[in-house]
């Protein structure tokens, strides 16, 4: 077993001299954490080092999803169910047969469409977890044709985002904007889709 050779290290540490750092030091042991990011800023997407070779190359290196053991996915986390990025609202575990292995039952809500999706995965298997990104922009304008105009960090504008179609959400944004409040919108993106997810009032104009 590989941890046998470490025994001595800790055995020593308990008694006295300081050990060499061993936590997350070796790539071989904890691959997920020692991520060397090769970023391609142009498209705002990242690609990690050799450990993350699960996405096909054809996808221009965009790590849209990451594998993660089903047992570690918790409520409030994200998961891909039936190809859709979901927020997990319920996790329960059960066994396949009384003396079988555990499996996880996930109930997720599609973060873009709000549809409910369910999945059952053996808890030692891997699931896909979407890379969900959120960016804040200041709201500059709402156009007649249902698009918004947003101010990016580097001073450019982003004009390709639609307003929500739901009446209630729409009025929340429009009313706030009409009141002349300074609004910041939070845009959520995952797996190639994006949507306005939250709205924050940072004071009157």
């Amino acid at each position: 077993m590989y941890y046998e050779k470490k025994t001595r290290t800790l055995a020593n540490t308990i008694c006295a001299p300081p050990p060499s750092p061993f936590f997350f030091e070796s790539n071989a042991i904890v691959p997920q954490i020692t991520v060397v990011v090769v970023s391609s800023i142009a498209n705002g997407q990242t690609m990690s080092d050799e450990e993350h070779h699960f996405e096909s190359k054809a996808d221009a290196g965009a790590s849209k999803t990451y594998p993660q053991q089903a047992g570690t996915i918790r409520k409030n986390g994200y998961i891909v169910i039936k190809g859709r990025p979901c927020k997990v609202v319920e996790v329960s575990t059960s066994k396949t047969g009384k003396h079988g292995h555990a499996k996880c039952h996930f109930v997720g809500i599609d973060i873009f469409t709000a549809k409910k999706l369910e999945d059952i995965v053996p808890s030692s298997h891997n699931c896909d977890v979407p890379h969900v990104n959120r960016t804040d922009y200041q709201l500059i304008d709402i156009s007649e044709d249902g698009f918004v105009s947003l101010l990016t960090d580097n001073g450019n504008t982003k004009d390709d985002l639609r307003l929500p179609t739901d009446e209630a959400l729409l009025t929340q944004i429009k009313d706030g904007f009409a009141d002349g409040k300074d609004l910041v919108v939070s845009v959520m993106s995952a797996m190639g889709e994006e949507q306005i997810s939250a709205l924050k009032d940072i004071g009157p104009k």
């Binding site: 308990i14 927020k87 009384k98 997810s197």
Partner: protein, 1145 residues
């Protein structure tokens, strides 16, 4: 719509027939149209009009007597009642009497009417009116009513009238019992007086009448071979008797005081000991009637006669009369208390034996009975028999009723035998019988040590236990392939199972000399079977059997500690005290064989074959339960202990260390080799390891074990352990740090913690150095590892002990900045935000009292930054999601965050109370109170009234608030008006909360506020200043000062609303300073209240009570401790005096 009032005039000239008839027709029409669903609203209005009209009695009587529509008669009766209760004060004594006797006569005259519900309604109207006038009528008047009823019940007017009479008494008794009485708009005191009066003067008479009525028809029932009308009357009489025995007899003298506060609800419902069985304790006056007159003999013979008739037409096992008779018999089994003279034990014994002899036929011979039930017979009789046994068991001790026990145990044993098939009735019977056994055995086990169970009982218990194990195992193997465990009910079924297993354990321990060897044998068999057939056959059944067996054995040999160190169970300790060699001690043999079995799980091949996750759960559970009792028990040095051999064997100097080593190896295996098995991991982390490190002498050995070092190493390095559920990682981190208490000194302990955790902190710091942090932070793998680290850090923080404080302190300071950066980066990742906050909360909680002044300043500064950062991210933020469940989740997240922030503030507060820092005496330290107020002001805007609906948040918020007001009222006084009214607004909200603790906190806060103001103003200072004086708002209206406002609302609460009596003393503490501050207002309020009373008696009673409140027992106008105590007493007696007539029902 026509009005009825001018038509139905009762006092004036008699209305003419035509009018009465048209009223009747209108009502009939309304009733039919309601039935046909035609325009129900209008019909209801018509009927309501009748009930609300002035003196509609004539019309109602007319309808009752003449209408052919039963519903119309029903509505007329209801109208009489409504109107009479409303107008009672204006009716002349004659009218009142006439109304009652009209109703009574009506029920008697129409006793044979087919529409029973109308008769029942009319007789309940009579009962209600009689109760309404109960205190006005003279004894003679009442007697004349009851004479009529008695005549009817004695049966001289025929069976139907007899039935009607009994029925009337039934309504009367239920009307007089406070929990079932009808609302009359009268003070509670009235209901209470009626109840007492009925119990004192009439209840026994009623019982005798019912008994005589039943007696008078008994012979005819027994003689006839088919159903006869007398059965109906007899059944009603039995029901009435049962109802009277269910009466809440006033043997509890304390009942009077407490019933004032929340009337109608019995206060003793939650007493844990009286599980299902309510004792019937009517007192010695009933002895003659119930016990010595041969009453029970008659009842039993009646039922015996009925049993013979079940084959006849009109009778069957569940026919109403049989059911009532059985219920009454069961009720008699719970007869107890002073009705039996204390110097004559035989009488009670005789009573029970007599009952038992009657009941025994229902359940004996058990096998025949259960066969009959299987073939279609109704099970209710058998279940009633079991219930009766339970009732008897509840009031007797086996030592006293030797022979009783013998017979019950036989019966129980045989019944359990037939119990294996899964049918509802048998489960129910089993549960009742198990309860019976517990009731019998619990006193035995309590009576220190020596088992007093007679030998027959013991052998019965041993046989019974063998049967139980057999049938449990059979059930286990039968269910091995069932996969339909509904996870929703899992928790409930586990706790039910737990309960059942602990009752099995009680039975097993009653005869442990037989049952322990028996368990050894069974376990060995299972073990052998599983090793024989390895790999060849599917042995799921075997696994399931072993699983159940482990659970049973665990329950038998060890108790649940419930937070304390459990001792070796008494029965086991005493039973084997004569065995001196460890190798022959049955318990040691049993434990050793199970540990040997568990050890097999270390072998990968065996693990693959035998140790399924579920079986492993049982193993871990067993080890946890066993080790907390037996492993290195602290008792081992006590010489005189009777179980010395037992505890010594697994002690520190004997087998303790090797076994501990095995256990740690097994736990590591469970964590590493069962990926994704959350339940197993939870048991291992939270149950087994967590319990081990709680005991210091075990820690001493733990840290020397190689296996423990392996575990620590794996924790720091093994990626498998990073895949554990994050909560389990937290628990594991906590456990590992706790074990440092076993190290030699604090230096090595600190070093140990540094080695364990140092690199995790470094990792966090380094993560933040990455310049593309913002983009990589959102990657799922980074989120996962950050969450794991935070959970681990949190686990470490919550394991703070003086010994390891230094290392944990350094750890916290090292990650302070990262925490703030992460909070910014992950502001939209609610799960991470929560972890960050919880880490800070736990760390501050563990560290705050040790911090030196400069450190405190740094920590306070850090916390304020954290609060402001959190607030700036969240205030004014709206989540735009289509999904309502996601919106709800967001709300829950917010609640959890806020709760954590409140906890953080409370933890900061504690610095002022407990401070171990070296410079605690210096005064230039940070002013905690201002910091905490500032914090509170930051987060108060985030707390909405909606969020306060979360009970825990509400609770935390108010306990913090009351703490602040109690400790630093002067800081509150300095708040500006808006902040102040915001804080106090929530206080007002909390005062009317349902949760007692919340109200209590608010009352404490009020007391602090008012007494601060009082003392300050007496000392010539301003106190609360303008806050107390009242303000002019923008419209120029004078707003009351806050103290006056609270005086008003507190008095309102105390006098008119429902609350728990537990609150009275804290309410008194708040009321006293409020009264002293606002004496003028108090006088005014008192006078208003007196003016509002309807009559002179009540006015003077109230005035006296108010006077007594402020002047009894030499109450003075100071706020000393003694004065508070006097005022508490005064307030309690004041409330008892006045709430009875101020509150109405």
């Amino acid at each position: 719509m026509q009005g009825f009032q001018e038509r139905g005039g009762g006092g004036g000239a008699p209305p003419d027939l035509a009018q009465l008839q048209s009223t009747m027709r209108a009502i009939e029409l309304a009733c039919t149209s309601i039935q046909m669903h035609m325009n129900p609203a209008e019909a209801e209005a018509t009927i309501l009009l009748l009930a609300q009209s002035h003196q509609p009695y004539q019309a109602c009587k007319f309808i009752l007597e003449n209408s052919q529509v039963a519903n119309a008669r029903f509505q007329a009766a209801a109208a009489i009642k409504d109107a009479a209760i409303r107008e009672w004060g204006f009716l002349s004594p004659d009218d009142k009497r006439n109304l009652i006797s009209f109703c009574l006569c009506f029920t008697m005259q129409h006793a044979n009417s087919p529409e029973g519900y109308v008769q029942v309604k009319v007789s309940s109207v009579a009962a209600q009116l009689l109760k309404r006038g109960w205190l006005d009528f003279t004894a003679v008047e009442k007697e004349s009513f009851f004479y009529q009823v008695n005549q009817a019940i004695s049966g001289i007017h025929g069976v139907d009238v007899q039935f009607a009479g009994i029925n009337f008494l039934e309504s009367l008794v239920s009307e007089f019992s406070p929990s079932t009485s009808t609302a009359m708009g009268l003070p509670r005191e009235f209901h209470e007086q009626c109840r007492k009066s009925l119990e004192r003067d009439h209840l026994k008479t009623f019982y005798c009448w019912a008994r005589d009525a039943a007696l008078s028809v008994t012979n005819r029932i027994i003689e006839s071979n088919s159903a006869i009308p007398e059965v109906k009357a007899c059944n009603a009489a039995l029901r009435l008797m049962l109802q009277i025995l269910n009466w809440d007899f006033l043997y509890k003298s304390s009942g009077a005081a407490s019933s004032v506060f929340s009337g109608g609800v019995r206060q003793d419902n939650d007493s844990p000991k009286r599980s299902e069985v309510n004792l019937v304790q009517p007192g010695p006056a009933w002895r003659e009637i119930l016990v010595t007159s041969g009453h029970i003999g008659w009842l039993l013979s009646l039922y015996a006669a009925l049993r013979h008739k079940f084959s006849c037409e009109g009778y069957w096992l569940d026919c109403p009369i049989a059911v009532s008779a059985r219920k009454l018999i069961v009720q008699f089994c719970s007869l107890a208390g002073t009705i039996f003279p204390s110097d004559n034990v035989q009488m009670h014994e005789h009573h029970l034996l007599q009952l038992l002899s009657g009941i025994i036929a229902w359940i004996d011979p058990p096998d025949a009975v259960s066969r009959a039930i299987e073939s279609g017979k109704s099970e209710s009789e058998m279940l009633d028999g079991c219930r009766a046994l339970l009732s008897i068991a509840n009031i007797t001790y086996p030592t006293v009723f030797d022979q009783l026990l013998k017979s019950t145990s036989e019966v129980v044993k045989n019944l359990m035998n037939n119990d294996s098939e899964e049918e509802t009735w048998s489960w129910e019977a089993r549960d009742i019988l198990l309860d019976t056994w517990i009731a019998l055995l619990v006193p035995v086990n309590r009576n220190s040590g020596n088992a007093l169970l007679p030998p027959e009982g013991r052998s019965a218990a041993a046989n019974l236990f063998a049967l139980i194990v057999e049938s449990e195992l059979r059930a286990a193997s039968a269910s091995a392939f069932n996969d339909d465990v509904d996870s929703n009910y899992l928790q409930a079924s586990i706790s039910a199972m737990d309960e059942r297993l602990s009752s099995y354990a009680l039975i097993a321990r009653a005869a442990s000399d037989v049952t322990i060897p028996f368990l050894i044998e069974v376990f060995a068999k299972g073990f052998a079977r599983i090793t024989q057939g390895r790999g060849l056959v599917d042995h799921t059944e075997c696994l399931e059997e072993l699983y159940s067996l482990l659970l049973i054995i665990g329950h038998v040999i060890a108790d649940e500690g419930e937070g304390e160190t459990p001792l070796v169970p008494n029965a086991i300790q005493t039973q084997f005290s004569d065995i001196l060699e460890a190798e022959k001690h049955p318990v040691i043999i049993l434990c050793s064989s199970i540990i040997k079995f568990a050890e097999q799980s270390l072998n990968p091949e065996m693990r693959e074959l035998v140790f399924s996750p579920r079986l492993m759960e049982a193993v871990i559970w067993f080890l946890a339960r066993w080790s907390s009792t037996y492993l290195m028990s602290p008792e081992e040095n006590a010489d005189l202990n009777s179980s010395k051999v037992l505890v010594e064997f697994f002690g520190q100097h004997n087998q303790g260390k090797p076994v501990l080593d095995i256990i740690i190896h097994i736990s590591l295996t469970a964590l590493v080799s069962y990926p994704g098995e959350k339940d197993l991991q939870a048991l291992t982390c939270n149950h087994l390891l967590h319990a081990l490190v709680l005991r210091k002498h075990i820690c001493v050995h733990l840290v020397q074990l190689d296996s423990w070092r392996d575990l620590a190493n794996a924790f720091a390095n093994d990626k498998n352990l990073l895949l554990l559920d994050t909560a389990h990682q937290r628990s594991l981190a906590q456990t590992l740090v706790r074990s440092a208490s076993g190290l030699r000194n604090s230096e090595s302990s600190n070093q140990y913690v540094r080695d364990l955790m140092g690199h995790m902190a470094t990792y966090l710091v380094e993560l933040l150095r990455k310049n593309n942090l913002k983009s990589i932070a959102q990657q799922p793998d980074i989120i996962l590892s950050v969450s794991c680290l935070l959970e681990r850090l949190r686990g470490v923080a919550s394991a703070s002990e003086p010994r390891t404080q230094k290392a944990i302190n350094e750890l916290g300071f090292a990650v302070m900045n990262p925490v703030l950066v992460l909070l910014k980066v992950y502001k939209d990742e609610s799960a991470v935000v929560y972890l960050l906050l919880k880490f800070v909360v736990d760390w501050v909680d563990g560290q705050i009292s040790y911090l030196e002044a400069h450190e405190t300043a740094a920590v306070v500064n850090f916390c304020m930054n954290l609060l402001q950062l959190y607030s700036s991210h969240n205030i004014g933020k709206i989540s735009l999601s289509l999904s309502s469940s996601l919106l709800n989740e967001a709300k829950t997240d917010k609640y959890k965050d806020l709760r954590a922030l409140l906890q953080l503030l409370s933890n900061l507060c504690s610095k002022d109370l407990v401070d171990f820092s070296s410079d605690s005496n210096e005064t230039q330290g940070t002013n905690i109170s201002q910091v905490v107020y500032f914090g509170l002001l930051i987060i108060t805007p985030l707390i909405t009234l909606d969020l306060l609906k979360y009970p825990k948040l509400c609770h935390d918020y108010f306990s913090l608030l009351s703490h602040l007001l109690e400790v630093y009222p002067e800081t509150v006084a300095q708040l500006n008006t808006d902040a102040f009214s915001n804080v106090l607004g929530t206080l007002d909200f909390g005062l009317h909360h349902q949760d007692i603790d919340v109200v209590d906190n608010c009352l404490r806060a009020l007391r602090a506020l008012a007494s601060y103001h009082y003392i300050e103003t007496r000392g010539g200072k301003t106190g609360l200043g303008s806050h107390a004086a009242g303000l002019k708002d923008q419209g120029g209206n004078l707003q009351e000062g806050i103290l006056s406002r609270f005086l008003r609302s507190l008095l309102q609460l105390l006098l008119f609303e429902d609350y728990s009596p537990d609150l009275v003393s804290s309410a008194a503490d708040a009321l006293l300073p409020l009264l002293l501050c606002e004496q003028g207002l108090y006088q005014r309020l008192g006078n208003e209240l007196i003016e509002r009373q309807p009559n002179e008696t009540l006015k003077s009673r109230l005035a006296n009570a108010l006077h007594g409140l402020t002047s009894a027992n030499q109450l003075m106008s100071t706020l000393e401790r003694k004065n508070y105590q006097i005022f508490r007493k005064n307030l309690t007696s004041f409330l008892i005096e006045v709430r009875g007539f101020l509150r109405t029902k």
